[in-house]
Amino acid sequence: MVTTPIVKTYPSINPQDLQNIILAIIQPMVGETCHTVKFSYGDELRLELGEMLSCQSAKLQNVVKGSWRLGARATPWQLKQDHQILVPFPSSDDLQEHDLNPMKQTVNCLEGQALIEVEFIPHSLGLILHFTGNYQLSLRPDLSDNYEDSDLAYWELFMPTEQLLSVGPGYFWSCRSIHERY
């Protein structure tokens, strides 16, 4: 397995260059269908697109995952259809179960929709995904959060190349092998 060295950018990089780099990496995902919307431990929104593959762990024998997998980590997200907000950005970090359940059900509408455009916002490190059905999913990182106290990326993308693109925390990104160990 080829391991890709970690590549990082620093705040001095031109935002336009950063946008070009990130878009070049994620653009091949456009055209893929979102097969599954799920919530991982910690209520992290995860979208699974592309070819569905078996999990590697023997503990997950009957579970499949997309060849493209986007994880929103702890980043606030919003879902719109046309110009109507279906799920707003949260007003608080402390969402309760009765707040989360309707959001989880609503965002399932992305299942079966194809990704038709992706936007990367270099100044905020945010991401906007446009799907068929006029759905739009936005991730809006909180850059005011003290990233030196956090080890969480703002969002991450597992790719068919067996690489993981991580954006954040802070104005950093990396692309490395999914097999590289912590």
């Binding site: 431990y41 762990s57 023997a58």
Partner: protein
Amino acid sequence: MGKKRDIQQIEAIARMFHFSASQREEFGEFLEQEKADQHRGTLNARGDFTWQELVKKAQEFLNE
């Protein structure tokens, strides 16, 4: 909207057990499967896991 503290705990477990990113991702899936199978944690009514329970779950996950 993900719960930062819970997700950070998975990151800490990944570092402790030297997971790969792929393993860390599947471990999160495994934990949700465990909760759905009624092998729930005792942290709260949602069945989330205490730190000690997460360590045990990581050992189970790797012991396959």
